[in-house]
């Protein structure tokens, strides 16, 4: 009798853990998706940032004495200043959900989304 009681208790405990686990799974599936970007200079990854957790700040990246000022604002990232002739990277604006990268060719700088199909919906852009 005692053993059976213990068994029942255990089953209830198992059910409780199961329910809790199910709740955790649902929570994990529904929580804010990470928005991970990498800042790469001359092929080297300088920063890996989850924009959904970043607070507003500036990052300055230098390459052979030339600099790009990268701004994180409101969980978005963009290039504000660059001392290159064409300023393409500034014109590209914010790295949006659908575009995959901001590039400054003269300064060999790239800001790109960490590849993940769940985050951007696509595996690449051509």
């Amino acid at each position: 009798m005692n053993k059976k009681k213990a068994q029942t208790a255990l089953m209830i405990a198992a059910a409780a853990i199961f329910a809790a686990a199910a709740a955790v799974s649902v929570y994990q599936l529904r929580r804010t998706k990470p928005n991970t970007v990498k800042i790469i200079s001359d092929g080297k990854v300088l920063y890996t940032l989850d924009l959904s957790r970043e607070s507003d700040r500036e990052i300055i990246v230098e390459y052979e004495g030339r600099r790009n000022v990268i701004v994180i604002e409101n969980h978005d990232i963009y290039v504000r200043e660059a001392d290159c002739p064409d300023h393409t990277c500034i014109k590209m604006g914010k790295l949006s959900q659908s575009s995959t990268q901001i590039v400054c060719l003269p300064n060999k700088l790239m800001i790109r989304r960490a590849y993940s199909s769940e985050e951007s919906g696509t595996d690449g852009t051509a």
């Binding site: 255990l10 198992a14 799974s25 995959t100 590039v103 919906g121 595996d123 852009t125 051509a126």
Partner: protein
């Protein structure tokens, strides 16, 4: 007791492994299933309470830890080459981390080697030696590239041309110091344009005086083919090669679904649609890649060899989807120059690939073969589908 612990540990590990490589939804489902099996086991076997509790805790631990695993196990590296960032990613599914890593480093070494051979600004490169001396014996890779480019020049009626380097320089597209050349300058430079001014004999290339060649229009496509082959040779069955907008894939995604490739909106930052592919390349040529504005007009880097000026064919973005990156690269550039009608004619004549065009009056035109794998996001409306007649 010790034995039991080891057992639980082992099971836990197995569960973890099975969670890797699937997306999060599947991961969660797999966790729940495992838990269910454990619950049933607990009910049926008559082991001690302690044992059951330990197993339960182990399961709970697995359940909470699994969710933190990233979606797919991959080895990925980025390199700056051919004036762009290139990212090579091999998935370990089916080949293991060691082989995937070996494949990725071999790919990067190869990209660096080709970049050195084909960089027109490096005096030691094959192209600089041809352009500097008018004649040079080059590597087999370079000879093959030139042979392919000359062949494509003929097939596209001159729309793809590797002799545009002096004109591109005059416009400033090679340096970023842009300017609009005057008519006389362009007329003089046009004299040296034309693939008939390039001769390939074995591995020896010669160009007529004043003619200079650049691999720009085909280099990334050919690199994609070479890199894909390295992946396959190393046993990698799933890989994504992103050569600065040139996409080439090996196999399908881990898990067996198609790669979903976004197509860049030529008028904005986002994408206008997607194509789903496996084992194929997707290459887009668009004016947005490199351009400048002067007096209200936009000038882009894809030049019409007939005029020496930015191509005005009515197409603002040309994507080619096919098995060979080299062909896709060459044709996307050629179609941007050739325009809508000639592109359709070419496709009907030769086949073996598909295309997606965006016109300057905001229409999207696709070929029949990609119809079921193209999805519009509504930006340019539903596409016109071109069929074989």
């Amino acid at each position: 007791m010790t034995v039991l612990k080891a057992n639980c540990q082992k099971r836990r590990k197995t569960v973890r492994m099975s969670c890797i490589g699937k997306d999060r939804t599947n991961g969660a489902l797999c966790k729940l299933t495992v838990l269910l099996i454990y619950s049933i086991q607990l009910k049926t076997d008559g082991d001690s309470l302690l044992k059951k509790t330990i197993c339960l805790i182990a399961v709970a631990a697995v359940l909470t830890s699994c969710g933190n695993y990233s979606a797919d196990e991959q080895v990925s590296q980025t390199i700056f080459a051919m004036d762009t960032y290139m990212t090579v990613t091999a998935y370990t599914d089916g080949c293991g981390t060691e082989k995937a890593s070996a494949a990725v480093s071999e790919c990067l070494d190869e990209i660096a080697r080709l970049d050195k051979l084909w960089n027109v600004n490096d005096a030691q490169s094959d192209f600089a030696r041809i352009n500097g001396g008018g004649k040079a014996t080059v590597s087999a890779d370079t000879a093959e590239l030139i042979s392919f480019a000359l062949d494509m020049n003929e097939k596209t009626g001159g729309a793809l041309d590797i002799t545009l380097l002096p004109v591109l320089r005059e416009w400033g597209f090679t340096t970023g110091e842009y300017r609009v050349p005057d008519d006389d300058t362009l007329a003089a430079l046009r004299e040296n344009i034309g693939s008939d001014k390039v001769t390939l004999s074995g591995n020896t290339v010669s160009v007529q005086k004043g003619t200079m060649i650049t691999p720009g229009a085909v280099a990334k496509g050919i690199t994609g083919d070479i890199v894909s082959e390295i992946m396959r040779k190393n046993g990698v069955s799933s890989a994504m090669i992103d050569l600065g907008g040139n996409i080439q894939t090996v196999g399908k995604k881990p898990g067996g679904s198609y790669w979903k490739i976004g197509l860049k909106d030529p008028r904005g930052q986002g994408i206008f649609g997607t194509v789903e592919i496996s084992d194929m390349a997707v290459v887009t040529s668009g004016g947005y890649e490199r351009y400048f504005e002067q007096d209200g007009a936009a000038y882009w880097h894809i030049l019409d060899p007939k005029t020496g000026r930015p191509a005005q064919s009515g197409i603002i973005s040309a994507t080619v989807i096919g098995g060979e990156g080299s062909l896709c690269d060459a044709l996307s550039t050629a179609f941007f120059v050739m325009g809508e009608q000639q592109t359709e004619d070419y496709w009907r004549r030769s086949g073996g690939f598909d295309f997606v065009l965006v016109t300057d009056d905001d229409r999207v035109i696709i070929s029949e073969g990609i119809k079921d794998r193209y999805t519009s996001n509504g930006l340019y409306g539903e596409p016109e589908v071109i069929c074989f007649e």
